[in-house]
């Protein structure tokens, strides 16, 4: 065996023994601080060199003097390595401390997220980046939550106002009737009934909104023709239009298929048509149309309201927003829930609703994705096929 091979073997043996100690140390240190681990790593490295050197020196019978020199060199190198690792450990410790502080600030409302300052190892920097992203997400959702909460409080305030106003009238009329001092009892009776009907409608709207918001609006979608929906909406709204002296017309191409819950979508359409009729002056015209559009079907309700002020166009779908800012309900005024419900229903159908000013008035547009015609016979009654839309926030918050 050549001398060289012998040296390598001996060095490998001695350094290997130290390495084995290192493995044991690593196992023992798995929960220790990074700094201590670095320190031990440097010690192991130096010890391996020293052990290898001593081993070979013994085998090769190097002079005592040379051995001392080698020993001194090893000690100095070991000290330098030790010092370097100490520095490195401190650096890592500082960064991890900064990260810890940053993580603690995550989710704190008063101070917000404080990003760790100073340079950092690549892995730690990536971690810090993640933390910052999470902080931003948290901030966003908190902001959304706050807005929703504010809007809900506003809704409760307005609704209780809107409920109290007719209740005051009801109470007054009921007492007058009870005490027999109503000058026109017949009119009071009629008015009481009308008020109660209006209150019921409002309660029903609130109920629908809460179902939309909580995501418990169960859709039982069916393949429908937009033409039938429009025709049916015109048919059921015709009496209201006639009573108002408004001309209500409809128009739709055939073979415009959509996948929709007939009841919910009819309700949305009815809300739009009711609004249009209400805001159109006598002898005006309301037109409901359904047309094909790239990738979907467009159902539009155009009225003769004279246009909505541009500044208001963005707010009409907001919950409880009403054109006349006064919160006293007009004779047939609503609670400002109608369009929020429309938006909730349409979005639950993966559609979009928007409004533009056009012609004599404005046009509300509902866009729904188209579906391919179903082949062959229809399915059963479909009551079993209920899909649940994802939870929707109250629209317009």
């Amino acid at each position: 065996m050549s001398a060289q091979a012998q040296i390598i073997l001996i060095a490998a043996g001695c350094a290997g023994a130290v390495g084995a100690m290192g493995i044991a140390a690593a196992w023992l240190l798995r929960r220790a601080s990074l700094r201590l681990s670095f320190q031990v790593a440097s010690a192991i490295a130096v010890l391996a060199v020293v052990a290898g050197t001593l081993g070979t020196a013994n085998a090769m019978f190097i002079s005592q003097h040379d051995l001392r020199v080698v020993g001194m060199v090893c000690v100095v190198a070991g000290l330098v390595a030790f010092g370097f690792c100490w520095l490195l450990g401190r650096q890592v410790e500082t960064s991890s401390l900064a990260l810890r502080r940053a993580a603690r600030s995550l989710g704190q409302e008063e101070t917000g997220f404080c990003e760790p300052a100073g340079p950092m190892a690549a892995e730690l920097a990536a971690l810090s980046e993640e933390l910052a992203a999470t902080a931003r997400k948290l901030q966003d959702s908190r902001e959304r939550e706050r807005r929703a909460e504010r809007s809900r409080r506003q809704l409760v305030a307005w609704v209780s106002h809107d409920l109290r106003t007719p209740l005051a009238g009801l109470r007054a009329m009921a007492e007058a009737l009870e005490d027999g001092i109503a000058s026109d009892a017949g009119r009071y009776h009629k008015q009481i009934r009308a008020e109660v009907i209006r209150l019921s409608a409002m309660v029903e709207d609130l109920f629908e909104l809460s179902r939309i918001e909580s995501g418990t609006l169960n859709l039982s979608p069916d393949q429908l023709e937009a033409r039938d929906l429009v025709s049916d909406a015109v048919a059921s709204m015709e009496p209201l239009a006639r009573a108002r002296g408004v001309r209500l017309t409809g128009e739709a191409g055939s073979a415009l298929l959509i996948q929709a819950d007939a009841r919910e979508l009819s309700r949305a359409l009815a809300n739009l048509v009711t609004n249009a009729i209400r805001h159109t002056p006598e002898d005006g015209r309301v037109q409901v149309t359904a047309t094909a559009e790239a990738g979907g079907v467009l159902i539009a309700v155009a009225d003769g309201c004279g246009g909505i002020p541009d500044a208001d166009l963005a707010s009409v779908f907001d919950l409880t927003w009403r054109g006349t800012r006064a919160r006293t309900p007009a004779a047939d005024g609503g609670a400002g829930l109608g369009l929020a419900i429309v938006r909730g229903i349409v979005e639950a159908h993966r559609g979009r609703v928007s409004v533009v000013n056009a012609g004599e008035g404005c046009r509300f547009e509902v866009r729904l994705p188209a579906v391919a015609p179903r082949g062959g016979g229809g399915s059963g009654d479909g009551d079993g096929r209920r899909t649940r839309p994802a939870g929707l926030l109250i629209p317009g918050l």
Partner: protein, 236 residues
């Protein structure tokens, strides 16, 4: 003898007003405030129709409905009109096997409820008559209708139809050329004097898929713009 109506509701105001309206319409009425007393009252005083609140103390309205019908020993099922509160999914109540013949959502108009009670009683009487003498099978263009066997053939091929689809198609086939509004169809075919009109829209669409050559361009079951639907047996 005038028909007997049993009103079951724990709300005394409602029960009293409904009772007054029904008596005014010439019907005999009794009142029970909960399920148990309703069942025992029905035993000693068998009603022809029950107005039943879904939310009752003790036994739930649907259960009461089931037991009342089980105890009712006649060929025809006992008609039930259910009173439901908002959000109790009234259509579910109608769809169930033990379900009601009609329903009203609280708050409701007692005037309207009285009209409905009379309509349901009338319908029950008519149903009893037709059950005794079912209409003869007839042919209408490409269609052959046998109501007694609940069978409709088109070009000599039998159509696979659900109960409601059969009822609606048979109705259209025996009333060709006339436009019906959705409320009319709901009343005449479903027997509901009130309900979700879109039920009709959906059923029409399904029938078209089974009877039309091109369902999106229907020639038999046509949409009458802004009115409702019409059947044409021999479209030109």
């Amino acid at each position: 003898m005038s028909a007997r109506v049993l009103v079951v509701d724990d709300d005394l105001t409602i029960a009293e007003v409904v009772g007054d309206y029904l008596r005014d319409a010439g019907l005999e009425t009794r009142h029970a405030a909960d399920g148990r007393s309703a069942l025992s009252l029905a035993e000693e005083w068998p009603p022809d129709l029950v107005v039943l609140d879904l939310m009752l103390p003790g036994i739930d309205g649907l259960e009461v409905c089931k037991r009342l019908r089980a105890a009712h020993e006649r060929q025809r099922p006992l008609p039930v009109i259910m009173l439901t509160a908002l959000g109790e999914e009234a259509d579910r109540v109608l769809g169930l096997e033990t379900g009601a013949d009609d329903y009203v959502t609280k708050p409701f108009s007692p005037r309207e409820l009285a009209l409905r009670v009379q309509a349901v009683l009338r319908r029950a009487a008519v149903a009893a008559e037709t059950a005794a003498a079912p209409p003869e099978p007839f042919r209408a263009g490409r269609f052959e209708v046998d109501v007694a066997a609940r069978r409709i053939r088109r070009d000599d091929r039998e159509l696979v139809l659900t109960v409601r689809e059969f009822d609606l198609l048979a109705f259209f086939l025996s009333h060709p050329g006339r436009a019906f509004t959705r409320p009319e169809l709901l009343e005449l075919v479903w027997g509901w004097s009130f309900g979700d009109l879109s039920t009709v829209t959906v059923c029409v669409r399904r029938i078209r898929e089974k009877v039309e050559d091109t369902p999106t361009a229907p020639v038999h079951l046509q949409t009458v713009w802004g009115v409702g639907y019409r059947w044409e047996t021999d479209p030109r």
